[in-house]
Amino acid sequence: MNPGQLDIIREDCDRIFANPDRFSVLKNESILITGGTGFMGSWLAEAVACLNDSHHFGIKLTLVARNIDRFREKQAHLASRKDFTLLEKNVCDLIDIPDDISWIIHAAATPDNRVHSSDPLQVINTITNGTMQVLGASTRLSNLKKIVNISSGWIYGSQPKEMLQLQECHVGGPDSVSIASAYAEAKRMGETICSVYKGQFRIPMVTLRPFAFIGPYQMIDKPWAINNFIYDAINGGPIKILGDENTIRSYMYPSDMVNWILTALCEGESGLVLNLGSPEGCSLRAVADIICDCIPGETVVISQTLNRKPKYSIFVPDVSKAKETLGLELSVSLQDAIKRTIDWLRQP
């Protein structure tokens, strides 16, 4: 990562922690993050680095991941920190957690749907057995204060068309016999496993259900609409919309994501379940148009020819509960998120 990109991320973190007091329970504490080198883990690591560097929090962070070498190579500025410990381990093999750990963010699982399709059994194994392994090990910790389980908005299944936003109380569910449901069903099971550990072992547990994100650290070659649009645009376009351009998605900028996760970790009452995402739904066509506006020149947006009935879908969270319980709100608009992402990608 180049210095310009680091500056953008640090600016974002500084903005989150303009008033860091609400996170003061983490001072001099030890946090463990599974899936520590992915998109979410990397952002959380950046946030902790900022708390330590700018606000002297003295947090000790342990990142658990399967492939540490790549992290060392790409995020050397994080990997080389003395306050960070890197633990190369498949979460399914995590027998013991260091005894000084008081806080856990369990985020191990890839959201890449290419992996979900080609290796669904491995996806199910990582999520379900990995969650049991982490929770089992956490029962042996002497000073555990809270676990945040990163679940998924996909556990709701398809969002009904008449429902503009999905509330946490929505009882939906993925199509259990579809191969495309492996990730979502495993995440649902993961939530149940967490509830069981919370009930049986009294482990303090908060569940977050992430939706979609766009921002630094996201690989724009991932097969998601907004990533592809940005990829097309910065490579000279045209932006190709695959599928129905009226499909509605919402995107949260990662600094908001980190703020919400850490707030839930510090202040969320055990048993709390919250959506994690932007409530600002936007059609794919509108997203593509925003990206065009951010790129100088004449980027064209083209939609595929589809001689069939419109088949749009919606995937947007209701986040009023996050506001009511923890006072959380979105601070970065979609336009700003896209602009900042493109700036980050274009840093020389």
Binding site: R114, S117, P223, D232, Q304, T305, N307, R308
Partner: protein, 336 residues
Amino acid sequence: MKKITISDPTLRDGSHAIKHQLTVKQVSDYCAAIDKAGVPIVEVGHGNGIGASSIQVGLSRESDVKLLEAARKHLTNAKLGVHCIPGFATIKKHIKPALDIGVDIVRCACHCTEADTTRNHITFVREQGKQAFGVLMMSHMAPADVLVEEAMKMESYGAEAVIIMDSAGALLPDKVETVIGRLCDTLNVQVGYHGHNNLGMGVGNSIVAAKAGATIIDGTARCFGAGAGNTQLEILVPVLEKLGYETGIDLYRLLDAADLAEKELVQSIPRVRSISVVSGLAGVFSGFTSHVERISKQYGVDPRDVFFRLGKRGIVAGQEDMIIEEAYKLHQEKTG
């Protein structure tokens, strides 16, 4: 008006019909002609795709690189496509050089139940900013539910279209309608159809596919292709236009290109011979025909029996050596 994108594999599937002996001049001449006609996608290369030239499935006269360079030079408006079967084609040795030459679309193909094998290839092509289609070959061998699942995998890998390929010319209209309809209901990306003519259903099935929602249809000049040949392009296009679909293709120039193909490329115009009907009924890849005939003659057995035996075993392209096995067994049974 509904739009259909025509993809022309004359210079790829047609290669089967002449044992992969296409020359640079043939590719150049046909590309120039078909480009003028306004055909939007032209596929070029060995019949089994880039990297497939081998003793097993036939050696090409010219290298992939030479044929693709010639095509690129003579295609101004049309996109240049390649067929790519993972295993024959590798990312480093074949796809990357093809993209460097200027290939626009890589059609990553696999047996209809093995979409997993296309993941790395599709992903790589998309990462290079090029178009990747998924192609499910021998699609008569799997039920609609399985084809939908496999197509969903390809979509998740980044395929911008999924093509149902009736490699054996064995599909009948009802199944085409069901499969294409199910795919259109399920996928977010385009759905395409590639027909063969063993049972005389090339154009008919393609029309059924278009009506069911397919937006990419393949066809070759004078049916130029393996066995009984492919959906005949110069019939397909005017029929689609007559039915109200817009192809953007100039009819006269298309007919001129087909005439040129007949004169310059096609040694004998593919037709539905008796053996083609048998291969279609047996559900065996049309490209096996010449091998089956040759080997059957060698062992003194009826090639129709060989085809039905191969059909029962469910063999697919790349298993050409099984022809000898079955012909030998038949010979043994016959001679005691």
